[in-house]
């Protein structure tokens, strides 16, 4: 019985982490979250929300945080010097050499979150949206978060360019290493901002990340997530979005990496006339397992949401799209469309598609659907009949399937980077000359 009292993450028992100068509210939340994690335990496949994904391999490892200060190693920066601001985290800790804050820009406030805990917005918004009462991994993150980004954009500020948050996992820490990032993005009334989160790394490690985004009245927020973790890594990521009146949020997720991955994106449309465009693309091979879990909650009237997730699976990969849309009783005049399309490139790849709509009033326009298919043989023949080799023709068609999501990305450097990431990871796209084709295909 005494083992219950000894902190052991495998038993869902953790000591809440505390940071120097932490406000009392944060200490209290961390303690509550640790209790909730213990009470909830690791999610099992008996839970409807986790029915396709077993965390047994993750929960079997005695993960510890990496307490060393990142130094020496220079993570590659995918966007060069293009971001207006950039924060790099290695194993959950800020890499100060590789981070540039843009606080000389009026209206933009970017801080490591551990230095932002006294701000008014932090007090107002932190942990208000990501639900640590019911979600075990969010509770774990809330109890243990080490650092992250705090981004606050003043009302009416249009940020040109984008803010980049880069997370690097390093599995060579001498022990199984876990990282818990916590981000808070507060976009004030009528502002405009683009935030990109990229995940990469090497070896075996466990990333557990929570990003809360508040889009104020009329704010325009674009959020991109590039999940390109090491193939041996575990990644649990939650993006929690709170949309106010007439706000406009674009969410793009591209998942190409990781061994066992859960991408959770939850959006609440709480103000009238808010719009959401959510797209995801997962490109898997080998034994990768990627579970995309989305929730769009239409709370207020006159909101639009458009959701499209696409999967490309080869080898023995397993992909999941579990998307739920709820239209609350007051959310009249809701327009909502949800689509999941999957392309299977091998006979052993598996995809589970579970789109669902829950409508609680009768004045809405909603539809959803999903497809699972193989490459179009007719199209393949058409290309070959014009002289294009079979391998190249397959590549073209696979890329074509993915391209709409990539091509709708508004920032050139981001779109190009996404194209390159896809081509480098697409199982059948590894032949020579690929880079060129990627760029050609992107135009």
């Amino acid at each position: 019985m005494s083992s219950v009292l000894v902190p052991d993450i495998r038993q869902a028992c953790v000591e809440p982490r505390h940071i120097d100068g932490e406000p009392e509210r944060v200490r209290r939340i961390r303690a509550q979250a640790a209790e909730r994690f213990q009470a909830l335990g690791w999610p099992t496949t008996r839970l409807e929300e986790w029915k396709y994904t077993s965390l047994v391999p993750l929960a079997a490892i005695d993960w510890k945080t990496d307490e060393r200060q990142p130094e020496g190693q220079d993570p590659a920066l995918p966007f060069g010097d293009r971001p207006v601001a950039e924060l790099t985290f290695v194993n959950g800790r800020l890499h100060t050499n590789r981070s540039a804050l843009a606080n000389e820009h009026p209206g933009i406030r970017i801080l490591p979150i551990r230095e932002a805990m006294e701000t008014e917005s932090f007090g107002q918004h932190f942990a208000r949206y990501a639900d640590y009462e019911r979600h075990a991994l969010t509770a774990l993150n809330t109890a243990l978060w080490q650092d992250g980004a705090y981004v606050e954009i003043a009302p009416g500020t249009a940020v040109e360019g984008f803010i980049h948050l880069l997370y690097v996992g390093d599995g060579n820490a001498g022990h199984p290493v876990m990282s818990h990032h916590r981000n808070l993005i507060v976009a004030g009334r009528g502002c405009q901002i683009t935030v990109i989160e990229s995940f990469s790394g090497k070896g075996t490690y466990f990333t557990n990340t929570v990003t809360e985004i508040v889009a104020g009245d009329g704010a325009v927020v674009d959020h991109y997530k590039f999940e390109n973790e090491s193939i041996e890594a575990f990644h649990i990521g939650t993006v929690q979005v709170h949309q106010e009146r007439s706000s406009n949020v674009t969410s793009r997720t591209i998942a190409t990496g990781g061994g066992l991955v859960r991408n959770e994106i939850n959006v609440a449309l709480t103000g009238e006339g808010a719009t959401l465009s959510m797209e995801g693309l997962f490109v898997l091979s080998g034994r990768q397992h990627v579970d995309n879990h989305t929730l769009i909650d239409h709370v207020a009237p006159h909101c639009d949401s458009l959701e499209l997730f696409k999967g490309i699976l080869d080898g023995n990969a397993r992909g999941i799209f579990d998307g739920r849309i709820i239209v609350e009783p007051d959310a009249v005049k809701t327009s909502s469309r949800q689509t999941n399309r999957n392309l299977l490139l091998s006979e052993t790849a598996v995809v589970d598609s579970k789109p669902s709509l829950e409508i609680h009033n009768d004045d809405v326009k909603c539809n959803h659907g999903s497809t699972i298919g193989q490459l179009d043989e007719e199209a393949l023949f058409y290309l070959r009949a014009r002289g294009i080799g079979e391998e190249e023709a397959r590549n073209l068609l696979v890329y074509a399937f993915a391209s709409e999501t990539v091509e709708r990305m508004k920032i050139d450097v981001v779109r190009e980077n996404a194209g390159r990431a896809l081509f480098s990871r697409m199982p059948r796209l590894k032949a020579e000359g690929r880079g060129q084709k990627a760029e050609g295909g992107l135009r």
Binding site: A379, L383, G387, E404
Partner: protein, 252 residues
């Protein structure tokens, strides 16, 4: 150029071509006519190498090579072009990018230098005029959202760019209005030369008014049952196919 001898072929084990023999010389235009179900499209697809269409016996020799032994892309690179009856829509594949990749794989195979983007665009613009195609088509996905006539014109445009030695037109004329028909015929006429041969497969004689063939063959029940000059097409138009079928039956 093309020598088909006693070709038996079909799809899914069903024999459709039952001993077809045909010779197409360099620079000649041959029309193959015949009623529905006679095997016209099967012939086109067997020649182009469409999967599932298999030859069970007979030979097809193209410029001295065993055509049936080559995969579809090799046939295209050797200069065989099939203008499809039902051009497929390929969302996400850009028309101009696709055609440049196709042309360069053909050129590479033939030992010619690949064209760069500028050279290709220049060529494409020139050929677009030929088929009266708007340049905006080029930046759209292959055939996506094209009308029936636009799809057929796109086939002829591709043919003009790829400059094949043997062009096979599989019912390119069906469903076209008179303007589109004229454009298609002009596209093919522009290709005609002593080095280019054309096989026009059609149900109707209409197209042959603009695209005058050197030889006309009638295909019935998987065999060429009658061959003649361009006047045979007119006879078929007036009398229909029944008299041929009667003749064939009578001969058995």
């Amino acid at each position: 150029m093309l020598d088909i001898k006693n070709l038996h072929a079909g799809i899914d084990g069903k024999e459709i071509l039952k001993g077809l023999t045909l010779r197409v010389g360099m620079g000649e235009v041959h029309a193959i006519m015949g009623p529905n179900g006679s095997g016209k499209s099967t012939l086109a697809n067997v020649l182009a190498g469409r999967p599932k269409y298999n030859a069970t016996s007979g030979t097809v020799t193209y410029l001295g090579k065993d055509l049936l032994a080559l995969p579809a892309e090799e046939r295209a690179r050797e200069g065989v072009f099939l203008a499809m009856q039902y051009p497929v829509e390929i969302p996400g594949v850009n028309n101009i990018y696709f055609l440049k990749a196709a042309l360069n794989s053909v050129r590479k195979h033939q030992g010619l230098e690949e064209l760069d983007a500028m050279e290709f665009l220049q060529l494409a613009r020139e050929k677009m005029k030929l088929v009266e195609m708007d340049e905006t088509f080029m930046n759209r996905s292959v055939n996506e959202g094209f009308s029936g006539g636009e799809k057929k014109r796109n086939e002829i445009f591709q043919m003009a760019v790829l400059d094949p030695k043997l062009a096979i037109l599989d019912e390119t004329d069906s469903g076209l209005d008179i303007d589109a028909l004229r454009i298609v015929a002009e596209g093919v006429n522009a290709l005609r030369s002593e080095q280019h041969s054309v096989l026009v497969i059609t149900h109707y004689q209409r197209l042959l008014r603009y695209l005058v063939p050197d030889f006309v063959h009638v295909l019935a029940d998987g065999r060429i049952v009658k061959s003649g000059g361009k006047e045979l097409a007119e006879e078929l138009e007036q009398k229909g196919y029944e008299w041929i079928e009667d003749e064939v039956l009578a001969a058995r």
